[in-house]
Symmetry: C2
Subunit: 120 residues, 2 copies
DNA sequence: CTTATTGCAAAGGCTTTGCAGGATT
DNA sequence: AATCCTGCAAAGCCTTTGCAATAAG
């Protein structure tokens, strides 16, 4: 089964404490500050493993590199098209129903301009 | 400026007539039936060009290869997690408002099981 | 004629993987 | 002791790009 490792714990902590929805590369950069020998492959392996295990979530917007999210409660995203920040949003949609289909979950992303960028 | 070419018109037609939200590879396979010498690079170039021009749209689910969509009216998607089919859905969400943010558009994907797959 | 577009192949970005050594239970 | 995990480097997948030749306006 699964074993814990210093690397895996560190990666999990980084994703959890991050509000940036970081990419693998960003997690790697952060991890190297505390563990300079950690390899990029290990970061990818663990992000994948943690995602499969359900400890974090993978989100991707358009065709940019995958981002990771330590926030597990149901939530939506708002992407500012000016500064690129991804904000977590409280669920605005109830439990969805579609005729003839069984909906188990959904994903809702809003796009636009955030407060800071609008006031410029 | 832009010039039309037999390749570009064919690619546009394929995406428009397709209900599968095809990948570049799928468009390429289809295009080769009518134009056996067309190259994959040309398919990618034109899909990108048509997307930028607003003639088609790029959609991507998770980290699979990009898919393309010739349906330009506002709509949402339902992805069947069993058979992988992507269905177009009439908009269920009105014009969204979020406090402090300017929302210009949104993307809503439902996930679950389609009618055919549920009845198995 | 001018220059956007093509086919081809090579290169690029992001991610996964094989391996031998090291770490965890 | 058994085996999961790591670092490293090579490979993989999807996509883009440089080039000389071709085709569109």
């Amino acid at each position: 089964m699964e074993r814990t490792s210093r690397q895996r714990s560190l990666i999990l902590e980084i994703v959890r404490n991050s509000r940036n929805h970081p990419t693998a590369e960003a997690v790697y950069a952060e991890a190297r500050k505390l563990m300079p020998n950690i390899s990029l492959g290990t970061v990818y392996r663990n992000l994948r493993q943690l995602t499969t295990a359900g400890s974090i979530r993978a989100v991707s917007f358009g065709s940019e590199p995958d981002r990771f999210d330590g926030m597990l409660d149901a939530h939506e995203h708002f992407v500012c098209l000016t500064c690129g920040t991804v904000y977590d949003i409280q669920p605005t949609l109830g439990h969805p129903h579609l005729p003839g289909k069984t909906v188990t979950n959904y994903r809702l992303d809003y796009f636009g301009s955030c407060e800071a960028c609008t006031n410029k």
